[in-house]
């Protein structure tokens, strides 16, 4: 076990629990505080928390390994979709969703379409899709801890999972907001510091990439992957910020719609700088000093060990854990809110008091967290595919009804229902039963969802209640 790294990581984990305990006082009896932090999060905290929720372990270790292995253009195109998706979400959905004062994306679909089938299908998809994502992140936390701290995998998964669950369950959205803010600052500081050290060490930004390309010409070239995979990866992440529950929930926490839009844009400033310059420096330097690494994901940590000052290298361990934790905690709360707010409080016990709902929220966080932990102890071999499918499935299902529901007055409940079914079923079929290139399935399922939604809406009459809904939407446009 590495003593220095372990102590710093433990200190960092205790800080997370401490924030959870502090937040506990704020969220004891109010669902508004538990699920959306009382809609009182300012631009600074929300921007860092949004960035941290987006940037998982993949954004710190995975993207560097991807660029090292497949070339910088491939890594950039994977992550550029997310970066462009945030400002698009700011213009397309943020104002309306925030000003309607809702708790979840399912709340919007209920308000807009009022249909039992939609209200049941959507939270179930959230639980399944985001659940798969949580398992992947918990397993990643375990692998990171094994490599960084030298502790057994099972022990690493159990310790990290229980800490996630503990501070999310006791502190709700307030705990997540402040832990994510700290986690975001740590991970960006470490990646940028390493990039600056490498740029200085290898003669500047121009020289390092030229030397990297000389060491391996494929570093700068387009990888041998079909164009449809590139475009599909871009589209999946481009639409994610507008509809993926663990990202959208940060829009609901903002103090106002202007703050929500500004937070989305600032989050991408931070994210873009971290990814562009981090990948540029690490992938290039990796090929110069450590060509032919058997496991490309080790390139980041190899360079940390070689070039970061010893005292700071320990903090990098915390930064990697922070990247994984900040995404997992947001996912955990989004699944818990789907179960408690969208299913329990609406269908099982509609008379539940706010205090009861908070209690159920805590219980459901533990149940989901522990189930995910059990799966993460023996992660399925196709976990990366499952996690990619999760994001693609939510995009194919949620994007059309959300965007059309906000902007198109003629969108009807039947149109939304059949559009949702077409998007979800076609995505799952293409993903599971065809040989389409990886990540390209959404290029069929997303347009299909839009077409079905529009055609069925035009063929059906708007419901009587739609007049009231449109009137309310007029107020938030």
């Amino acid at each position: 076990m590495r003593v220095e790294e372990t102590l710093i990581t433990l200190l960092y984990l205790f800080v997370c629990i401490g924030i959870g305990l502090w937040a506990r006082k704020k969220v004891k009896e109010s669902t508004g505080d538990y699920w959306v932090a009382g809609r009182g999060v300012g631009i600074f905290a929300n921007s860092w928390a949004m960035m941290a929720a987006l940037a998982s372990g993949g954004s710190v270790i995975g993207v560097m390994g991807l660029a090292y292995d497949m070339g910088i253009p491939y890594a950039y195109s994977m992550y550029a979709g997310a970066a462009a998706g945030f400002p698009m979400a700011a213009s397309l959905v943020a104002k309306q969703l925030r000003d309607l004062e809702l708790y979840t994306i399912t709340d919007f679909l209920e308000f807009r379409y009022k249909n039992k089938a939609i209200e049941i299908i959507m939270p179930i998809i959230v639980v399944l899709a985001m659940g798969a994502y949580i398992v992947a992140q918990m397993a990643a936390a375990g692998y990171a801890a094994v490599y960084l701290l030298g502790i057994p995998f099972h022990l690493a998964v159990i310790i990290t999972a229980i800490i996630f669950i503990l501070y999310v369950s006791i502190g709700g959205m307030w705990a997540i907001t402040y832990t994510d803010m700290i986690q975001g600052i740590i991970m960006v500081a470490m990646v940028i510091l390493l990039a600056v050290i490498l740029f200085t060490e290898f003669g500047g930004m121009g020289t390092i990439i030229t030397r990297g390309v000389e060491a391996n010409p494929n570093l700068g070239l387009i990888a041998d992957v079909p164009l449809s995979s590139y475009v599909g990866a871009f589209v999946v992440w481009f639409i994610a910020a507008s509809i993926t529950p663990h990202l959208v929930m940060r829009v609901f926490t903002a103090k106002g719609s202007k703050e929500a839009k500004l937070s989305l844009n600032w989050a991408v400033v931070i994210y873009g700088i971290m990814i562009v310059f981090g990948v540029w420096a690490v992938a290039s330097a990796g090929h110069i000093v450590s060509p032919g690494l058997e496991n490309p994901d080790e390139v980041f940590l190899t360079l940390v060990e070689s070039y970061m000052p010893t005292a700071i290298a320990g903090v990098t361990v915390a930064a990697v854990m922070a990247a994984v934790m900040s995404t997992t905690d947001a996912l955990l709360l989004s699944v818990s809110s789907a179960l408690t707010h969208d299913l329990y409080a609406k269908f099982i016990n509609p008379n539940a008091t706010e205090k009861t709902q908070v209690k159920i929220g805590i219980i459901s966080t533990w149940v989901i967290g522990l189930i995910a932990m059990v799966f993460a102890l023996d992660p399925p071999h196709l976990i990366t595919l499952l996690y990619t499918a999760a994001i693609g499935l939510t995009g194919s299902t949620f994007f059309a009804p959300t965007v059309l529901g906000i902007w198109w007055k003629r969108a009807t409940t039947q149109g939304a229902l059949w559009g949702i079914i077409a998007g979800a079923v076609s995505y799952l079929y293409l993903f599971g039963f065809t040989d389409m290139p990886a990540l390209s399935h959404i290029l069929v399922s997303l347009p299909l969802s839009f077409v079905v939604h529009i055609v069925v809406s035009l063929l059906t009459e708007p419901a009587e209640r739609d007049k009231e809904v449109i009137k309310r939407l007029e107020e938030v446009h």
Binding site: P87, I275, K409, R410
Partner: protein, 74 residues
């Protein structure tokens, strides 16, 4: 100008943001199959990487235009 009965009105700043964010990647992907490289990296790589820095700037400009138009009452 008659009210659009089908769609809610979107501010000019938001429209501009969305149009740029949709058109820029399409242009970038047009260079996918070309052999142009700068400092050893494909032109497509530079374009798509630059999008990560450009996107928030476009978002801020769009917000500024929307706010200015709102203040001017247009």
């Amino acid at each position: 100008m008659p009210e659009n009965k089908q769609f809610f009105k979107m501010s000019f700043g938001d429209k501009l943001t969305i149009i740029i964010l949709l058109i820029y990647p399409i242009i970038a992907f047009l260079f996918f199959a070309t052999d142009i490289t700068i400092a050893g990296m494909s032109f497509f790589g530079w374009l798509i990487g630059f999008l990560m820095l450009l996107a928030p700037v476009v978002g801020f400009v769009g917000m500024y235009i929307t706010e200015s138009n709102k203040e001017n009452g247009s």
